[in-house]
Symmetry: C2
Subunit: 350 residues, 2 copies
DNA sequence: GCAGATTTTGGGAACGTTACCATTTTCTAT
DNA sequence: ATAGAAAATGGTAACGTTCCCAAAATCTGC
């Protein structure tokens, strides 16, 4: 194919010719903050408008070293929680006049690496990443400003990050469970190798110990953060545990909703037979039957704050900030109050 | 600030020096399909690896006229339906090795225009757009390959498009309603000025006429495609219409779920008092109480096919294709069967 | 009206790549 | 061996912008 770069789009030289000035002057006139005579600037702008000039962002970026593009790498755009985070990032990016390259990694380390490579080659100004695995070096020598998304910050001590306050969120959830009489909930967590899993479990265990509950006594099942896997995990729990009423604390809302389906399919009802507590705060939980009680993470704010931090990192200031935003409890119908009944399910250490 | 383009990232010249060849040769060796001696190619690749060379995509794009980036402009990334479409587009884009710039327009024509401008300046190879308003010219003189997303194709006869088959989908829904004895459902549609609204209404009306139902007799309320607005719209309907049982056909699932909430708040139950039929097929509808019966659009496929069409358009072939993908009925619990009761609610024309 | 300071402008060179053309090297057949 | 073709390589000019430095124009105060 013959050469066909830019099908006749007017360039700065065309504008210069029309306005009767040099291209340098046009460049200056068009980039607001330079010293150009008012009169010439007007002339240039008029000329630019008349030919429909639009700055070639590629050339601009190549020369200036700034692309005005940021990368966003999240596990799954179709997951409402991450979609919400992405939306927050988008909004903030739009305010700043930058564009977002968005990728889904599907919790797959290889894909994540490929996306990061693509971002580096596109020479984005920085990236917002929820890291999948613990290929730490990959990220640390990423070679451009990064801000981490989510709770994986501890693994990357040198990088700024923004996520929800897992510690506070989990406590919020456990306190609620305890208040309703559930002292040793079963857990459905992410699968091994996922950073968020470890964090969630450790915090739950710590808080159990605080309340003299033996973490070892808790039933723990794994899922892939999807509805289907949550459903299966719940089914496995129902096989193991026969004593009712019981409760389950699920590490994300999609799995929690899946668990709800499993309970329903087993001929049981929530919350009478099984109480379910989610973690995320996605909208779908509001409509479920019963409504999903959950610990709501400030998803959109995470995205917004992430972009803000990223801008700081790009500007070179305060590059090691770590932000944890508070979660809120959303109480709907999926938790039963069994505080009145005999505490036969209470597992006490010592 | 001093000049700081590319903080010492190795370029093609560095590789050339190291490999002892000219930069032209490096360029050729690295772009697979050219005539280079096997031996030199290996040497070049080794040199490139050893310095950690990564092609500068900006320079490449500037020179070649291809950016390997596509634009995606949808109304709202936080809306599960559109997130799903975006995910489909992402997957397909990844297969082709291109990146996606993703924007949300919030059904705001000005924002949409701003996003389109950004895409043009970024010199993306093409764009996938769900157009908000009918500022037709804006899109037609967009100046680069575009594929439309959604049902607005009729307004832009010259552009290729991919969406769901509204005609078939609406018929699917209405047939189901009729089968259950609902002959004249109320409607909750998008607000004026939104392209999808007109399309949806016209098709509903046409099918009503086919069945000798007077379209004028239908209650029609407006919403903004959000849960809240759907809830309010349903509340307005409940004030107007007192005869039970009744049914409502809602133009998107989020509003339908909102309607569900309104019914619940009014002290009524779905489907006993009010039957609700949605349109979209988002996951949240599966968990609601009752499950939302809805006409499911093939969201992910729309995104995938959209990218495929866009590639065709970029390659210059078959630029006027219009694709409408079939919808499916998802039957859950939100529709009551009243076909046995007396047809007092049936409005017959003539 | 003029020297000197100050704006304002123009002319390149660069950013890192690819495309073209000329040149060199290698291969093939005599 | 050698002419001629074919393959491989090098040199240089783009792509469209910004940045630097020098040149020109304008503005000061006397």
């Amino acid at each position: 194919m013959a050469q066909k770069p830019n099908i006749n789009r007017p360039t700065i030289v065309d504008v210069a010719r029309l306005a009767g000035v040099s291209k340098s002057t046009v460049a200056r006139a068009l980039s607001q903050s330079s010293e150009v005579k008012k009169k010439t600037r007007d002339r240039v702008i008029k000329a630019a408008d008349s030919v429909g000039y639009e700055r070639n962002h590629l050339a601009h970026s190549l020369r200036s070293g700034r692309t005005g593009m940021l990368g966003l790498v999240i596990p799954d755009l179709a997951n409402p929680f991450w979609a919400e985070v992405a939306r927050g990032a988008q909004d903030r990016a739009m305010d700043e006049g930058v564009s977002l390259l968005v990728f889904s990694s599907d919790w797959n380390a290889e894909r994540e690496a490929a996306h990061l490579r693509a971002l580096r080659q596109a020479r984005v100004d920085g990236a917002l990443v929820n890291p999948v695995g613990d290929h730490i070096d990959e990220l640390e020598r990423f070679g451009m400003p990064v801000v981490l998304l989510g709770s994986s910050a501890p693994r990357f001590p040198d990088l700024p990050s923004v996520g929800s306050d897992i510690n506070q969120g989990v406590r919020l959830g456990l306190d609620r469970l305890v208040a309703l009489g559930h002292h040793a909930p079963a857990l459905i967590v992410g699968s091994k190798g996922r950073l968020a899993r470890t964090r969630f479990m450790r915090v739950v265990f710590d808080h159990c110990v605080d309340r003299d509950v033996d973490p070892q006594s808790l039933i723990v099942e794994e899922g892939e953060y999807t509805v289907q896997s949550g459903k299966k995990a719940m089914a496995r729990i129902l096989v193991k545990k026969t004593s009712e009423p019981m409760s389950v604390f699920v590490a994300n809302d999609l799995m929690a909703l899946g668990a709800l389906l499993a309970v329903r399919e087993a001929g049981l009802t929530c919350p009478n037979d099984v109480s379910i507590l989610g973690f995320d705060g996605i909208q779908a939980g509001i409509f479920s039957d019963p409504g999903l009680s959950t610990v709501k993470k400030p998803a959109r704010k995470i995205g917004e704050k992430g972009i803000r931090l990223l801008f700081d990192a790009i500007a070179g200031k305060a590059s090691d900030k770590r932000i944890e935003l508070a979660c809120e409890m959303r109480n709907l119908g999926s938790l039963a109050d069994i505080s009145g009944t005999s505490p036969q399910h209470l597992t006490v250490v010592g």
